[in-house]
Each structure stands twice: as structure tokens, then as C-alpha cells.
Amino acid sequence: MDRIPILRMGNFLLVTIQVDLYDRLALNLESDLVQMVSKTGARGVLIDISALSIVDSFMGRIIGNIGSMSKIMDAETVVVGMQPAVAITLIELGLELKGVSTALNVEKGMELLRSKIGSFEDFEEEEHDDHRPE
């Protein structure tokens, strides 16, 4: 069965959706992601939807579900790269994606995730370690 790959990068899970999804594929992604969060103890999930040409009510609901489920599992979700035409259509459809954090692109999404889970502190500590005099 087809699956969307989930990449792990430190505390984060990255998902880039490169194909147009049919419903079963989206449902698989939802359950795979929640299980990955539990298995890896990831604190953040970044979903790149820049290659998605449409998001309908079903896909919108899945995105919302992933956000809520991850939240319960103590992980933040950020959705990045939504195309302008998709945003226009979503609002006209009546789907506001309330409760889902979004960012314009992957870079800004990563920044947002880091600030959400406060992992900046960890990075700073590491830096201090490096510069500690011998």
C-alpha cells in the first residue's frame, strides 16, 4: 500500500506531501504520524503541502486531526507552503483550519516550531559547550 514518507530530524518529524492524496493515503498518514510521534518522542511535526494543488474538506479535516492528535502527544504541528489558490478555496469552502499553525515556507516553519517548543535554549547550551576554555 502507498505511504507518505516521514523523516526524522532531531526533535522534529518532517513530512513533504509530493502527490495528490486520495482519502486512504491521508488517513494512513494521520495514523503513521501519531505513531511516529509516540515512538520517537518528537516534539514538533512539520508538514509541507506546497505540492498539493487542492485541499478539500476531507484533507483539511485530516490536517486538523494531525494537529490535535500531536498536541495531545505533546508535539506541535506546523503546516507550511500552502498555495494562494488553495487558501482562497479553503476559506470559500468554509474551512478555516482553526487551531492549525501555519508558516509561509519550510524555513519559517522550522523557526516557528523551535520557538514553540523552546529548543533554542538547547542550541545555546551546545554552543556554550563548544566555546568553553580547555
Binding site: 486520495y22 487542492i54 478539500d56 474538506s57 476531507f58 482562497i88 470559500e92
Partner: protein
């Protein structure tokens, strides 16, 4: 007066048929020069309607037509199933109403995304939805 310029019929029986169906609509929309936003609206509406057809009607037949009215070109889509039909269409067209476990945005949302929307349903016989999106609509 509406003139049909081309007609294409696709049978939808399983979820995997949906993506090729959406792509076919996209091809026709591009061919008549429909803008990206209108294309996206049309395909999203089609995605909602075809899902309803699969979920409640057990699949069915779709027709993609390129139509022309005066100087305006557009795409007309027909979704025809032989499912149980809809008892109360007015209720089904309301935001947030669903007999399934969905958000209830499918039918009312699809209506907002297209220019013309027509639904006919006979209980025990099936449901037919016809929508039209004009190129500059």
C-alpha cells in the same frame, strides 16, 4: 443557450479513481484557459462531490464537458449515482449537516465554489449533481 463542445465520461468506483478524475478536469480547465484560482475551486468542488458519490452512492458515473454560452466558456461536471438518494436535500445543503462522520461541508461548500449548481435526488433511485464553472466566473 449552452453549447457542448466536448464530452468525456469517467466511471468512478474506488478512491484511487479520484486523482485521475481530478487531473482530467485540470487538463480541460487548462485547455480553455481557466485561471489557477478558478481551476482550484472547480477541482476542490469536484473532489467533494465525487467523495459523496463514492461514500453514499457507492460510486457512479461522471461526465466532464466543455460548454460555451455566448462568449463565455466553462466546464460542466455531472455526478450520477444509483445510491439510496437524499431524503431531505435542503437539510443536506446546510453547512455542518452530515449523516456520516464528516464536517458536513461537502455539498454546501461545493455550491459556493462553482457558478451553477443543480442537485436532483430520488430516494431509492439515486442522486445527480450538475455543476458549472465559467472560465471567468
Amino acid at each position: 443557450m449552452i453549447i457542448v463542445l466536448s464530452k468525456d465520461t469517467l466511471v468512478i468506483q474506488k478512491e484511487q479513481d479520484v486523482v485521475p478524475f481530478r487531473n482530467r478536469i485540470k487538463e480541460y480547465a487548462v485547455k480553455i484557459g481557466m485561471g489557477l484560482v478558478n481551476q482550484t475551486k472547480l477541482i476542490t468542488a469536484a473532489s467533494e462531490l465525487v467523495r459523496n458519490m463514492l461514500r453514499y452512492g457507492g460510486g457512479g458515473t461522471t461526465i466532464i464537458e466543455v460548454v460555451s454560452k455566448g462568449r463565455e466558456n466553462g466546464i460542466r461536471l455531472t455526478f450520477q449515482d444509483k445510491g439510496p438518494g437524499i431524503k431531505d436535500i435542503q437539510q443536506a445543503m446546510k453547512d455542518g449537516f452530515s449523516t456520516g462522520k464528516s464536517l458536513g461541508l461537502g455539498l454546501p461548500g461545493a455550491r459556493r465554489l462553482v457558478n451553477e449548481f443543480d442537485i436532483k435526488s430520488v430516494v431509492g433511485k439515486g442522486t445527480t449533481v450538475i455543476v458549472t464553472k465559467w472560465k471567468n466566473g
